[in-house]
Symmetry: C2
Subunit: 379 residues, 2 copies
Amino acid sequence: MKNYVLTPGPVPVPEFVMLEMAKPIIHHRTAEFEEIFFKATQGLKKVFMTQEEVLILASSGTGAMDAAVCNTLSKGDEVIVVNGGKFGERWGKICKAYGVISHELKVEWGQAVKTDDINEMLDKNKNVKAILIQASETSTGVEHPIKEIAEITKNRDDLILIVDGITAVGAFPVEFDNWGIDILIGGSQKAFMLPPGLSFISLSKKAWKFYEDSDLPKFYLDLNQAYKNSLKKTSPWTPAVNLVMGLNAVLEHFDKLGLENLFRRHSIMSEATIKGFESIGLENFAPGCSSTALSVIKSPEGIDAGEIIKGLKNKYGMIVAGGQDQAKGKIFRITHMGYVDKGDMISVIAGVESILNELKYDFTPGLGVSTATRILDSL
Amino acid sequence: MKNYVLTPGPVPVPEFVMLEMAKPIIHHRTAEFEEIFFKATQGLKKVFMTQEEVLILASSGTGAMDAAVCNTLSKGDEVIVVNGGKFGERWGKICKAYGVISHELKVEWGQAVKTDDINEMLDKNKNVKAILIQASETSTGVEHPIKEIAEITKNRDDLILIVDGITAVGAFPVEFDNWGIDILIGGSQKAFMLPPGLSFISLSKKAWKFYEDSDLPKFYLDLNQAYKNSLKKTSPWTPAVNLVMGLNAVLEHFDKLGLENLFRRHSIMSEATIKGFESIGLENFAPGCSSTALSVIKSPEGIDAGEIIKGLKNKYGMIVAGGQDQAKGKIFRITHMGYVDKGDMISVIAGVESILNELKYDFTPGLGVSTATRILDSL
């Protein structure tokens, strides 16, 4: 059976990218590779919407999250961690590992954080030096209001905004310079439609000032090393050469397509998927604050989402993600990022319909697919 | 012009490995990938010659070197760093970043450390908790006597031996269990003939005791997280899926070939290259202690090695590595690891001969090639 990977990371990799990465190895300390590396960083700047350097690390996204903390903060520093899902929770764990004190702003899963709550927490905790958040929380499908939060942080010299944009950068606009974000992180296996193994991170001038004051130890993840080398078109440690080659192929593709069209693709697939499922009575887990990077859909009352996920896999070879922790058995998650297209969205909705039918769920078969198809037609 | 990558990492990747990595992505949290990941760790155990778990990190080798320090030591701890090249120097830098006090045992470039000198330093510094060394120092081509050093450390509970085997593991025997090594590190872009992006690390039971006492902060590089997940056939953070798929293809190839035959290949290529160059008057930079992973050859008196390196690139598309720092202009370095074979060794010697001829170096043209060929015939 053919496999359809429809998880919100890793995502399917286009053939032209796989073939680019299958090209013979290039030594990294050569003019030839330096040009490739430089081109990649320039292309990343466009997607990050910044004039600042975007650093390429040989690590998964968590490596860049770790780096964001240990490069800007010190032991005993206070921060606010917005925790509305598994990745918000991870910010708290990273802070704990470094002895950074995190004030946790708990947000109900499936909801976006309210800026009022952030302001209130800042009022109560005058020493807070950073706000750590996700632009798009992969475990719940929520998009947090980064632009609004940046309004709070951007005029304060003593406070930075650290954004995990792993499931956001390249999926929808996260305007680093315009909004005034201080740290933004991306990952290769998401909207960049590459295999996992690379992370990307950019720092504002304010964040670099925080770097100077940070006393946390770091070596492999020392971003100043990465920065100094990036200006020389290289990396301090051996880069993941083939992934960087693949990245360039992706960035060229983005250039041809245009960022707006790329974002529009995700947006239309998101709308179609959500409305398609809603038309047969399946609710959006993040109503009013859905990230367009993925859709998170609630299983109907009385039906375990695990049944749907298992059915999709066994009957159609379709791999979607389930819920974690409190959302386990309640939701399933579908990517709009990566090498997926209209047909994939239509077929996964059809697949879910077929399984729901078997499970005796009461709905109008075909309605989900036809609702989604009408919206996807505009793509 | 065809490119011949003959550098001691990255090394050429076999076509069957490139094609394996070009296969469609698999989601990492699936039974399918867990089997792949498990198989890889089992295969790595054979190459590491250990019954301990071998952890797979999404990082370059330096990430694993960093992890070795921050997972076993504490701020203010004293260690001995054997510094006989660029990578020995790196151990010192990592220790410094973490506030670990390193007693540097300087070794002349091109020479192996003497165990007597280590014993002397241990006598003078009773609080030393670890010895940090390279099994094969890539910048000089030296193989250090790891087995002998392990004789010193293995019976002491308060002292561990941390070995950077990035350019050694898979190239020649580094017997983790038999010799009593405490930490051993490998890297994907060396004898494992993969692109860069993965590192491997194994810890002895004694090293895990050191982990318990270590107070250095870590998150992404926390080896206990990697260990606990490895027992469950997975990794704590998103693994570099395609590289792990490629790793399995390589490990299967090693299994078919047999480790002894793999080591023998490197050994014969090393002997042929060194004797070939010696026959035309070019000296081995590491006489009596050559690593078989690479050959480091001195440029003849009065000829800048840069001329040879440039000539090889321009005339034949052959990429070899030069010397760094004090060895710049004096040496060139050729890999025996990776997807290279007899023909590559013959042609690079012929290439050097041709360039030396142009540079009016006095020698018998063809002698280097014929000397090497005779030895390579036994492969």
